[in-house]
């Protein structure tokens, strides 16, 4: 089975985010970039499917030059090859433009299923997976926590997390799935894996190779526009409630009722 994994490089979740003084974006100095945590589940699942059914796991990402590091991580985990959409005109893509560029690339590949993270933890859109499925005219299932491929490889039975429980869904392949925590435990890259990854393909795709007009990619091809970035509302300084446990608890309960009015 051939599996496409769409992945993204994002700031590590421990990163403090600072906004540029003019609100046009975030300060990118000193950011440590990693593979999006939800993409790790997608890569891991692709490797498990490949190990069971044989075939290829192909990584696809869009991003600047540094995104190569995230591809290398996925290749070191065991993916076979990778595709890197990298062109200055791709910058500033919203969810739609990103899905469109990925769809254009993936159309040229032969695949049985596509795995994405449930969302990237930078833009937090959770849009690209389902939009990609629509543009490729494929079904999708979001938030999967279990994936079983039928022996004839024509269908998948998946579990997905919903509010207050889970759904079990059957879908014909090929299909797009977005992966949620709980699906698997992503492996770490082994040393031999890291060595092998150095020789694996990272195929660059620029605007010409992608084959879309320049006004359909990046900021120009986006349907939405970010007007500005703002910091979160600052919270007033809190109160430390001291004293004996019983007094402190009584005090807290009173404050929550009388001052905060939330109880």
């Amino acid at each position: 089975m051939n599996i496409i994994v769409c992945m993204k490089q994002v700031p590590d979740t421990e990163t403090l985010i600072k906004i540029k003084p003019d609100g046009s974006g975030i300060v990118t100095d000193d950011i440590k970039y990693v593979m999006n945590p939800y993409c790790e589940f997608a890569v891991e699942e692709a490797l498990r499917i490949k190990e069971k059914f044989s075939g290829q796991a192909v990584l696809v990402t869009m991003g600047p030059q540094r995104a190569v590091e995230a591809l290398r991580t996925g290749l070191a985990m065991g993916a076979d090859r990778s595709i890197h959409l990298n062109d200055p005109t791709f910058e500033g893509a919203d969810g739609f433009a990103t899905a469109q560029a990925l769809a254009e690339t993936i159309k040229k590949e032969s695949f049985d299923l596509i795995l994405c993270g449930k969302q990237a933890v930078d833009g937090d859109l959770a849009q690209v997976g389902p939009s990609l499925a629509e543009l490729l005219n494929l079904p999708h299932v979001t938030l999967i926590t279990k994936l079983e491929i039928s022996p004839d490889k024509k269908k998948a039975k998946v579990e997905r997390e919903v509010e207050g429980g889970k759904e079990v869904i059957e879908v014909n392949l090929p299909a797009v799935f977005t992966c949620q925590k709980g699906l698997n435990e992503p492996r770490y890259a082994s040393l031999p894996g890291i060595m092998k990854a150095k020789k694996k393909e990272i195929k660059p795709i620029n605007l010409a190779a992608l084959g879309l007009p320049a006004d359909q990619v990046g900021a120009a091809g986006s349907k939405t526009k970010i007007l500005k970035y703002t910091p979160p509302a600052s919270r007033p300084p809190g109160k430390v409630i001291s004293g004996e446990v019983l007094d402190a608890a009584k005090n807290l309960v009173r404050l929550l009722r009388e001052e905060a009015k939330v109880i």
Binding site: T13, E14, T15, I17, I19, P37, G95, F96, A99, V121, D122, D124, L125, A126, G129, P130, S131, E134, L135, P139, V141, L143, T145, E163, G164, G165, K166, E167, V168, I169, E170, V171, K181, S222, K223, T224, K225, I226, L227, K228, Y229, T230, P231, P232, R235, G238, V240, I241, S242, V245, A248, A249, K250, L252, V253, L256, R257, A260, V262, I263
Partner: protein, 330 residues
Amino acid sequence: MAKGIWVFAEVKDGNIRKITFELLSQGKKMAEKLGEELVAVLLGSKVEGLTGRLAEYADKVYWVEDPQLAQYTTDAYATVLANLCKEHQPSIFLCGATVIGKDLSPRIAARLQTGLATDCTGLTIGDDGLMITKRPVYAGKAFTEVVCPSSRPQMASVRPNVLEMYPPDGTKKGEAIKVEAKIEPSSLRTAVLEVVKSAGAKVDLTEADVIVSGGRGMKGPENFKILEELAEVLRATVGASRAAVDSGWRDHGDQVGQTGKVVTPNLYIACGISGAIQHLAGMGSSKIIVAINKDPDAPIFQKADYGIVEDLFKVVPVLTEEFKKLLAES
């Protein structure tokens, strides 16, 4: 020209979800400002009885009745809604940033080739008549203001519990209009085989008014019992930090934070949670935050409105008793 503010009415267990009324309340204000009509769109099976409550807010209620809509499936819902949008050309389309809304809206946006702002925490109409959505990025470490300048509808999914909900003014009685679903059974590519409710499931974390959360300081899965007891009294949902989830003490669905659920309750009580950046990002928009931790230097206290520096195992049971007394009085 595209006109009308549409709200997708989400049904769960036979009732319209609260987020729908939050959207209708906000949608009404925006409709007045734009001089456009407010429309609710209701899909399902045996849903005619639900149109009345929507008509108290909306000028029109399109309701689509079909046995194939009894259970949410992406293909059926996306097709019906996208076709209705193509026919009537609304200027704005809103849904909840719920599991269903988040599954559905990117699909419709791609089909209609339009812009979508997901998981928004604010909606306004700008001076130029465009909808300006406010949405968190980096799990709330920053916010963005987003517009959809030229394609229509301008789509947004909105997080539950953040928009203010108003009661209907009592005078409105919108028109309920039945619409044929026209779903080709062969176009449905997914089938829901089973829905499993989790045992003892209360309100989902993303919709909870009150959350009691435990972290590494809980020391083990068995100790979450004291949080369950507190939660029982407060009718709260129990959450957990990544440390607690990664230790296997709680289910991954309970995780609050950047790689878990981003929550906005009225009251968040953090017990034995130090407050890693990725956790603070996930709960920092809670209205009131209480932290109980014996380490006075724990970063959680920087975010907390009220803090108690003490062993949680001493504080929580006493707190449970005090809440019990208070709530028995009122």
